[in-house]
Symmetry: C2
Subunit: 232 residues, 2 copies
Amino acid sequence: MERKGASGQNGAGRLSRTSVLKAALELVDEHGVEALSMRRLGQAIGRDPMSIYRYAANRQELLAGVAELVLDEVETFPDDTHWQAQLRRMAHELRRVCLLHPNAVPLLVTGPLSTPLGLRPAGTLRPLEQVLGTLIRAGFVPADALHIYRAFYGFLYGHILNELQELIADPDENEALLRLGLQRLPLRDFPHLRSLAPELLEYDGSQELDEGLTILLAGLGHQLADNEARYT
Amino acid sequence: MERKGASGQNGAGRLSRTSVLKAALELVDEHGVEALSMRRLGQAIGRDPMSIYRYAANRQELLAGVAELVLDEVETFPDDTHWQAQLRRMAHELRRVCLLHPNAVPLLVTGPLSTPLGLRPAGTLRPLEQVLGTLIRAGFVPADALHIYRAFYGFLYGHILNELQELIADPDENEALLRLGLQRLPLRDFPHLRSLAPELLEYDGSQELDEGLTILLAGLGHQLADNEARYT
DNA sequence: GCTGTAGGTCTACAGTGTAGACAAGATTAT
DNA sequence: ATAATCTTGTCTACACTGTAGACCTACAGC
């Protein structure tokens, strides 16, 4: 008789924090956060569930680790282009990673991001510092840069959450459901909404993000021009 | 010997969906989502836990109901002011309600809002219809109005999530923690962030929201002016 | 050899969501 | 009034959860 070996890597070699977290992320990716139980994770790594506690204090800490693992996947870019292009690039990059791990996104918005700005792990703060640099170099006052950072990431996470909701497994079923859902609405109470049925059907997340960014960046450009006019 | 009567209303009168949901919301408000277990809720309403299942199919459905209950608290305004003022007003109203139920906010962003737009309960869609009307009346093309709605609420929920993270029980401890956290960062790697310590300390959510809205609305005003220039 | 420590395992406990059978009260049909 | 049905709340039971605490085993340094 042997240990089980069906799922994932068997109990070969020693464990490590990252190997445990990677297995956890895999589980979350495939079956959602709810499915990540200590016992299932133990089975996935071919070890006793209790062994996990050597690498994470408890389940919450484990989930926080998973979130950090996801955030580590977002790539950073050198600060060499126009600030607007730079922000666009960073936004799309974060979106890309989130779409790779949709089930883990709830952990990002209520997990380690649930710590106030100043207290997050250094790795998480690097993008913040970079955005601040970009904005200040573009001509914004540091204090404004901070507020802009918040507005920017607020919008970004908001968009990603929206897009993930729109994302449904079967697009055909989605279409049928949507038509049904819309017809249920009384025409006289929801005239605009019902007339927008076609637009509701073809949702393009990347384009939607871009359009939102355009609005936001236009507003920022405005603000920047005003500042410079005032100080010169 | 009697039934317990310490917590909440005792087992007087018949239950109803809303009474159950209200008790559930109270529990969430006071002790967080995790603390809302069927058994504890049963205790709070002075009934057997199983009775809850007559009013909610399962725990998820129960949480969705709680989320709807919260959303029902946001008031709506007649459509009588400038569209920008209207959007500002609605944003602050949603923020107000969310700050009243911070523990329930995660349910809003991953709960019934986790349904694609067209499939949400009619009550949830009313704000959408109203915003669409406001924007179209202001001069936007319907398709644009939809995208703007998305950008607007995306930003709004993003801001609220951010603000809730910033919200900590004890502000004094917050200040101490933040100072410590910042000093831990190497000055040469985080020059901007460390220089912003004072601004990080005084966080005013309402003002922050307003500044973000200003940026966004400025961008929108731009877009609107362009449209009208093109079509006249 | 001996000792200390880190990694992995085992058992056990209190708590979870919920299926399914049942009881009592209300409502309706006859 | 009697009988039938439906609604509401209760009870028991089951599979599953996170994790405390004792253990065991292998390797480190001396």
